[in-house]
């Protein structure tokens, strides 16, 4: 397969190889503010909150236990090939979101089954909800009484393999990427590389996680669970709410999307990732700034060209101040508007940056900026325009989606409005030559 980018300049020594332009043509969403891309879009436009009292596990003994739980999801509505009992809650989310993304893309699964593809799904916890139950039964009855069906659901690799099985895609690499809270962006980056290089003709990428007691308790013990709501960048922010869900994006080459007349939500311009291993839980400002520079360089985008940042924005003291500081390091004293969708969705862990990327694509396509809800007073130490409480209209050309994770696993994705006149890959090379 040959690269189709028409600059006429081949890759020289040290240059990045030529690559295909990659676009998003299908989106699937399982979220606490709406199922399916239409509901999700509406939720973002309205500034809907997914916060409610947690019911999926026992919360007795905790002083407060709100979360962004998905309450109206029936896996049978989406999953047709597999038996839902064989899938853990997170795999049900990922398979359902993939089914939605496939239908949204208009791609024919029969045609896809003949083509080389990639499935990459990021996660924090895999099927830790099932692990919670297994441990509980082990404590009560010993290991011999494990529910064998639950034990079979546990391996995190199921999150991506279930998509291949559900959609009947056998000529794919199916990969689950366990880089925690930025894993959705890692998965999109991997899909971008596969499709832009020509190794895969399509990719289903994203992230999935289900709420579990283990993660809630861990964050609670760290003192990072907010009592009732998530308030990113607010001076009185008190932490995260744990959430759940899945976001799956269909990536394909621009030429194949144009050929079949597909709806193009946005173009994937590039991504960056780094891992600093600085601290288990504390983010490192210089490293986060370095990550954003890597992503911008990879996308061929200058900082001043970015119209919006979808922040990691967890609503903890440490994250928001560190991330805002890193944004200033890269973007200067007048950074682009910087919003946190976690104010609405809570922290859906491995799904978070996938849902964030979908939100960015929808923002570009529908010309608006999703708000940061629950906002009262901006923390002067963060000092970003977080578009408080109400969505605003905006003509967005380039949007950056951040994901930061424990251990300093950071990843950012750059999306752009698809515009036939602009070739960011050519810009990237021009920037390289100029520097």
């Amino acid at each position: 397969m040959t690269a189709v980018r028409g600059t006429g300049t081949g890759p020289g020594p040290g240059d990045l190889p030529e690559r295909h332009r990659v676009v998003l043509t299908g989106l699937g969403v399982v979220s606490s503010i709406g199922l399916g891309v239409k509901e999700f879009l509406q939720g973002l436009q309205e500034g809907r909150s997914g916060a409610r009292p947690i019911t999926v596990f026992e919360t007795e003994g905790f002083a407060h236990a709100n979360g962004c739980e998905i309450t109206e999801f029936d896996p049978q509505d989406w999953i047709r090939t597999l038996e839902v009992e064989q899938l853990g809650r997170a795999a049900q989310f990922s398979a359902a979101a993939a089914r939605m993304a496939l239908e949204d893309s208009g791609l024919d699964p029969e045609v896809l089954s003949d083509r080389r593809g990639l499935i990459s799904i990021g996660t924090t916890d895999g099927e830790s909800y099932d692990l919670d139950q297994l441990v509980e039964s082990e404590l009560a009855d010993g290991t011999g009484r494990f529910d064998p069906a639950a034990a079979r659901r546990v391996p995190a690799g199921r999150l991506s393999v279930a998509i291949a099985q559900e959609l009947g895609l056998s000529n794919v690499e199916a990969l689950t990427i366990p880089t925690a809270c930025s894993a959705g962006n890692y998965a999109i980056g991997y899909g971008f590389d596969a499709v832009s290089s020509g190794e895969a003709e399509f990719a289903f990428c994203g992230g999935a996680d289900a709420m579990c007691r283990k993660t809630f308790t861990g964050f609670y013990r760290l003192g990072t669970i907010a009592p009732d709501r998530c308030q990113p960048f607010d001076v009185n922010r008190k932490g995260i709410l744990t959430g759940e869900g899945a976001g799956v994006l269909v990536l394909e080459r621009l030429d194949s999307a144009l050929e079949r007349g597909a709806t193009i939500y946005a173009e994937v311009l590039g991504y960056g990732l780094n891992c600093d291993a600085h601290h288990q839980v504390a983010p490192d400002r210089d490293s986060v700034a370095g990550l954003m520079r890597l992503a911008l360089d990879n996308a061929g985008v200058e900082p001043h060209e970015v119209d919006l940042i979808s922040a990691h924005g967890t609503g903890t003291k440490a994250n928001d101040i560190t991330e805002a500081g890193a944004i200033r390091q890269v973007f200067g004293d007048s950074p682009p508007r910087t919003v946190s969708m976690k104010s609405m969705l809570g922290h859906s862990m491995g799904a978070a940056s996938a849902l964030g990327a979908i939100g960015c694509a929808l923002a570009i396509q529908n010309r608006f900026i999703p708000p940061t809800i629950n906002h009262v007073t901006t923390d002067p130490e963060c000092d970003v325009d977080c578009v408080p409480n109400k969505a605003v209209e905006a003509d967005l050309r380039i949007v950056q989606n951040n994901g930061l994770a424990f251990g300093g696993n950071n990843a950012a994705v750059l999306l752009g409005r698809y515009d036939s006149g602009v070739d960011h890959a050519a810009n990237r090379e021009a920037i390289k030559e100029a520097s």
Binding site: R221, H279, Q280
Partner: protein, 84 residues
Amino acid sequence: MSTATRDDRLVTIKEIVCDILEIEEDEVSEVSLFKEDHDADSLRAIEILAALEKEFGVVINQSELPRMVNLKGVYEVVSEPAGW
């Protein structure tokens, strides 16, 4: 715990702290600093807090962590909710 003396309780606290910081009990004194002298970090501090809550059946607010820099500080913080 009502019959325990201050020394008894300090022994228990010391055991908890040394177990979590992975240090020998003769390395730590009442005033040696967890962070500066024993390489503790914020996560270890929370582990210590959680273990103390469990051992003594009390609730300790995380805002007390800055006072819990050594065994003496920990004793003072735990003594308040425990009513020692």
